[in-house]
């Protein structure tokens, strides 16, 4: 059989399992009572072992086997899960990741001898420097064989709670608890949260690894009361899931990209068709054009939905990163994540990992203080980093907050004055100016400033990447309280709803994601804000930007009545004064490959419905 076609699948699935292993390890380390984590780890490693062996990757299979033996011993309580064991488990999972990648690339090295020995020692209850001899020393190969007969058997369980029972959710939890007395339970569906909220039709499914027979298990589960059925469905590749779960298939991302591109062109073609149809007074043509328009909109929504991926997929690598950083830096950091379920377009998600990485690393490295410093400042010794996602209008805000020392503004000012003596730098930095300074390329590389060294490197990279996505980066920092970086990105890149504006006869597209409202420019409401022109809109003073001035348009006089677009990013607002508003349109933005010579306020170009090109304004650059 030709196995090569399964290699990609092996790689993809192994990566998923390894990532979940890291999460389970982190959770288990934090909550030693989370015994379900061990079961999950065991199964993941077991799956990787099976896949590796099937593919003929003996290096992967061998390492997975040793790791599995240790996990089994831990699960049986034969070996204690102490700090040294966790360190070894993390190391082994990392090594397994390396082995999997190597196998995927066609190499299959044998596991590192020292790691293999350490795993075997730990499995036999011999710590690295624990006195040997307490337990009989078994050759490595005997370890699994010894347990082969009494190894717990994994199986799926389905339980149905009587339909007239009260609090069926709580009853289901009770059934799970009873089952846990006989083995390790995992993959409970529906999840606990839904059970608690009574979002539950009485059907419960989970997996259990247990030595008990089906009969013993069924009896224990029934003892929870109100149980009508306990079944053990035939083992499937995946744990049994209730019927309301959608079926899923894997789709190559490249295929979705092409589909998205085609839909993008379809949207542009539809827009053109609409314009053309309007020229003919033909009801049948208009009707068909409308119909196509609706269908394309629906299709566009479906394709975008198919590309949406929860940000948790990117977030999940950070707990491990922060843990390792904290260890290396000698700090204590509690890392928390919120809003993992918020979805973003896959292509944005792929690009956002790096900027987040820089910001999270910055927070751990420069934000959070050493434990003793924190205690001295009256803070808890354990610092906190929160990575969160929230949905806003048509964008998603990703925040990295730390409760550390905050950025030392005086040091930044001093450093900037040294680096660029010609530039005027105010004594008191606003958050915006602070960001501009630390985001300057190479800000921190020139000379180390204590407490801020390295600050700029990541911010500069993050800023560039985020801007390339049509997103924005903001900072808020308070001395002693901490720093928050906020990244805002559009939900999807490919198709943007935009407001078309005219200035001096040229058309410009403003992405609607950042448009708060449009108002009439009222010359009487003009005032000044820090020597800049500003307008007062509902008692708020908003600085103005005249699109005509921006594009250096001298042709034709500006009309008397001019609409004004209020752009909004986070707390910041700008009033963009234009000649006329021409309505909304879905546009496909073509980013510029060579931005040299292009003014900063231009974010890309597009072809409008009537076939004419237009520039797309970058809202962030106007603020």
């Amino acid at each position: 059989m030709d196995l090569s076609k399964y290699a990609a699948l092996f790689l993809a699935e192994s990566r998923e399992h390894l990532s979940s292993c890291n999460q389970l390890l982190l959770r288990w380390e934090r909550e030693p009572s989370a015994t379900d984590a061990v079961g999950g780890l065991f199964r993941s490693i077991h799956t990787i072992k099976g896949m590796g062996a099937t593919m003929g990757f003996t290096g992967v299979a061998e390492l997975a086997h040793r790791l599995e033996s240790l996990l089994d011993a831990l699960r049986q309580g034969q070996v204690a899960a102490d700090a040294r064991t966790f360190q070894l488990l993390f190391r082994a999972v990392d090594a397994l990741g390396v082995a999997v990648e190597a196998a995927g690339a066609g190499r299959d090295p044998a596991p590192e001898a020292s790691l293999a020995a350490a795993l075997d020692d730990a499995t036999a209850g011999r710590g690295a420097d624990a006195p040997a001899g307490g337990l009989p020393v078994l050759p490595g190969d005997d370890v699994p064989r010894r347990r082969a007969t009494d190894r717990p058997r994994g199986r799926s369980v389905e339980v149905i709670i009587r339909s007239d029972a009260v609090m069926r959710g709580a009853r289901a939890v009770l059934a799970v608890r009873r089952a846990e007395a006989l083995g390790v339970v995992s993959a409970v569906r529906p999840p606990l949260l839904r059970l608690e909220r009574e979002e539950f039709d009485g059907r419960l499914a989970f997996r259990i690894d247990s030595r008990a027979t089906d009969e013993e298990l069924a009896a224990v589960i029934r003892s929870a009361g109100e149980v009508v059925t306990v079944r053990f469905p035939e083992p499937l590749a995946a744990p049994a899931e209730p019927a309301d779960r959608h079926r899923q298939i894997r789709v190559d991302l490249g295929r979705l990209d092409r589909l998205m591109k085609q839909v993008g062109e379809l949207v542009a073609a539809r827009n053109r068709l609409g314009v053309l149809a309007a020229r003919f007074d033909d009801p049948t043509l208009a009707e068909q054009s409308d119909r196509i328009s609706r269908l394309v909109s629906e299709m566009q929504a479906e394709v975008i939905a198919a590309r949406m991926t929860p940000v948790g997929e990117v977030f999940e690598r950070f707990p491990r990163l922060v843990r390792d950083l904290a260890r290396d830096l000698g700090k204590r950091i509690r890392f928390e994540v919120e809003g993992e379920e918020i979805e973003l377009d896959r292509s944005i998600l792929d690009e956002i990992g790096d900027p987040l990485l820089h910001l999270v690393r910055n927070a751990a490295d420069h934000g959070i203080e050493m434990p003793e410093t924190r205690v001295h400042a009256g803070k808890p010794a354990e610092g906190r980093i929160l990575l969160s996602a929230t949905r806003e209008r048509n964008s998603v805000a990703l925040r990295v907050s730390d409760d550390g020392a905050g950025i030392d503004r005086a040091a930044i000012v001093a450093k900037t004055r040294r680096d660029a003596p010609g530039e005027p730098t105010p004594d008191a930095l606003s958050d915006d100016l602070l960001l501009r300074l630390i985001a300057r390329p190479g800000f921190s590389t020139a000379q180390a400033v204590s407490g801020v060294s390295g600050r700029g490197v990541g911010v500069d990279v993050a800023m560039t990447r985020v801007r390339a996505l049509g997103g924005t980066l903001e900072i808020g920092s308070e001395a002693g309280k901490g720093t928050t970086f906020t990244i805002r990105v559009p939900l999807t890149l490919a198709i943007v709803r935009a407001l078309l504006a005219d200035a001096g006869g040229e058309r410009y597209a403003v992405p609607l994601a950042y448009v708060a409202e449009t108002v009439e420019f009222d010359a009487r409401a003009v005032t000044a804000l820090r020597s800049r022109e500003a307008v007062v809109v509902r008692e708020q003073v908003i600085p103005t930007v005249h699109l005509r001035d921006l594009v250096a348009c001298r042709e034709r006089p500006a009309p008397m009545r001019r609409p004004t677009v209020i752009l909004e990013i986070g707390e910041r607002r700008t009033a963009l004064v234009v000649d006329a508003l021409l309505g909304q349109q879905d546009i496909v933005v073509a980013p510029f490959d060579a931005p040299r010579g292009m003014p900063p306020y231009v974010g890309g170009a597009t072809i409008l419905a009537d076939g004419a090109p237009a520039l797309v304004l970058d809202a962030a650059a106007l603020l």
Partner: protein
Amino acid sequence: MSHTVLVCDDAIFMRTMISDILTQAGFEVVGEAESGSQAVEKYRALKPDLVTMDIVMPDMGGIEAVREICRTDPEAKILMCSAMGQQALVVEAIQAGAKDFVVKPFQPSRVLEAVQRVLG
């Protein structure tokens, strides 16, 4: 010998009613508690075979009491008495170690079924 029971509820009405149901079924109610901390104290003193525990009580709540009792005696047989709409709390109590639950308003047959299940 009949099983001994500790009844915990802040309302005399509920304590009386549960005691009556259990006594009529042949159980021996050896004590009553009107707060969580009292429940913990009396559990230690009386070592009853079964505890019925209200969820919402002054001083120390029922869930906290379950946690406290199970900390010293993981085998403690505790039956939660909850009102409708407290599902999340019941789940929390189960996680804390409660062995079963009944929902108010009580039907004597349901209470006794649950008691039998808990005593196994």
